[in-house]
Amino acid sequence: MRVEIDVQRRLGQTDIDVQFAGQSGVTALFGPSGAGKSSVINMIAGLLRPKRGRIVVDDRILFDSARRINVPAHKRRVGYVFQESRLFPHMSVRRNLLYGQRFSAPERRYTQLDRVADLLGIAALLQRRPHMLSGGERQRVAIGRALLASPSLLLMDEPLASLDAARKNEILPYIERLRDELALPVIYVSHQFDEVKRLADMLVMMADGRCIAAGTVNQILARPDLAPLTGHAQTGCVIDTRIARHDERFALTWLRCAAGELAVPRVERPVGASLRVHVHADDVVIALDRPTGLSTQNMLPATIVSIDEGHGHHHALELDAAGITLVAHVTRKAAHDLSLDVGSQVHALFKSLAIDDEPPHADTDATCHETGIELS
């Protein structure tokens, strides 16, 4: 699965000129409002025509100005989840979900109603009308509706932007599940770095209609020059993990990643669920030998890949822990005293790990229906 995007068009005051490539997994288009992110995915969906460029999804050319190819929107097989769900108000949830399925060739369908309803937790809503759903439910139905058309690429335009924090956390795990369970490339537009950091495999940063940086979340987080854009003053990295087990006695949850196990305060998610952990570079301590007698117990063996000496009193280290990229800040003196060098085998200790996860608010929907409050 490969997605190639190269589009140019002038819209209002913004000259959009963007090139990037995406793969399976989530490619995030990240940037401030007005950067042209939505316009780019409207061009991919066929709702907006680029002046010049080329759009290829999975070896299918959807647009090529040089070859005068412009596949109409309804033939692109590109799913689209909009910021404001855009459900059909005159249809039940079930009919909304099945709307796109009848237009897709049976042999190309890769999912069915039951599976999608289960994946998104909307099986109980099928008979309802969109106006009877909460904002979070509406968005889940919109995701399901896009999936049931069996798209070869899924576009999500700030799908959480109109929701409050509790409802965002209600939906994020579902998006993680579809990322993990369906081998479907997703292009996810957001101006919230927290969402992007949690979901994205690849990150394309946009400003003023241009792509200004692209890379993995770790590559972006490791670059101090991008910190003002991500809103993360400190550089850092993320570690993809799965929940290994819950420890009732100490109220901990153990997470497994390629390099070992990490313990975090109890997370209310099932064993096997994927979870992304964020570590600030300042919270990583480097030890030459595996230390004992420390209160810090989260540590992973790692190899130093590079040392960036250009940061005043500290060095920025890039480490590799069984394929996971970590970044650490150490003082120049410490680097000297420990004779740290590229290739050194060390242990990375984590003073703190941040998890972008709140306890799920499963009961909030029921409550708001009983009191009849409209949350849209």
């Binding site: 799913g79 005159h90 896009a146 058309a149």
Partner: protein, 236 residues
């Protein structure tokens, strides 16, 4: 039943003819008005102002002029009328079908206006969503635009129906005032007012006219509320 409640055969004939004419005119009107409403609401093309003007012309023309124009074109001597007669043996002049055509032309702008407004008020982004789900333009229209425009189509239909029921000037000019053929309620009332001593009979037809028109309006309001309640969960 008191005898004043009983309708005379002439009254029954006029009511039946009026309903027949109004329903046929609506049947002619509706598909064209929906198509034209969509074109005016969703497309932009050179000459749109002219098309728009032509659609609304019957609304501002004196009905007598409309009727006379119809007579000139669709009358047995007119170009279209002569062709229809020679080719298909169809004659509409001085027939009830002609009355329905006159009523359709005069009420067309009302139907188009209401339908166009309701299509314009539909969120185009919902139609875009349908396109990304694989629906082509026609399917988007049939499955999304049309159902969401039903309240407007209904309002337009009632307006056009009521206007057709009351059509007088174009009808009398185009198809004359023939009892049992083209004498609809307004024409019957007009005829009665021309005869001394028939004021009571005219008044009876007048009451019937009011009841028919009011009934149509109430029925549309009721239907409209039910649709809105089903779609949006509240009547307003």
């Amino acid at each position: 039943m008191p005898h004043w409640l009983q309708l005379t055969p002439i009254e029954i004939q006029a009511i039946r003819l009026s309903l027949q004419v109004a329903l046929l005119s609506l049947a002619i009107n509706l598909p064209l008005a929906i198509g034209m409403g969509w074109v005016l609401a969703r497309l932009s093309f050179p000459g749109k102002s002219l098309v728009n003007g032509l659609v609304y012309l019957p609304l501002v023309l004196p009905p007598v002029v409309t009727g006379y124009l119809l007579l000139l074109t669709l009358g047995t001597q007119g170009p279209v009328g002569a062709w229809l007669k020679d080719t298909f043996g169809i004659v509409v002049a001085f027939r009830w079908t002609g009355a329905a055509i006159a009523a359709a032309v005069v009420s067309f702008p009302l139907a188009v206006g209401a339908i166009r407004l309701s299509i314009e008020s539909i969120d185009r982004r919902i139609e875009d969503a349908a396109r990304t789900l694989g629906a082509n333009r026609l399917r988007v229209f049939v499955t999304v635009t049309l159902p969401l425009a039903v309240p407007g189509i209904l309002a337009g239909s009632i307006l056009a129906f009521a206007r057709a029921l009351g059509e007088f000037g174009a009808t009398i000019t185009f198809v004359s005032n023939i009892r049992g053929q083209t004498q609809t309620l307004p024409l019957a009332i007009y005829s009665l007012t021309q005869v001394p001593g028939k004021e009571d009979a005219a008044l009876r037809l007048l009451v019937i006219s009011v009841i028919l028109s009011l009934g149509a309006l109430l029925a549309s309001e009721l239907f409209n509320r039910r649709i809105r309640k089903r779609v949006y969960g509240h009547a307003r």
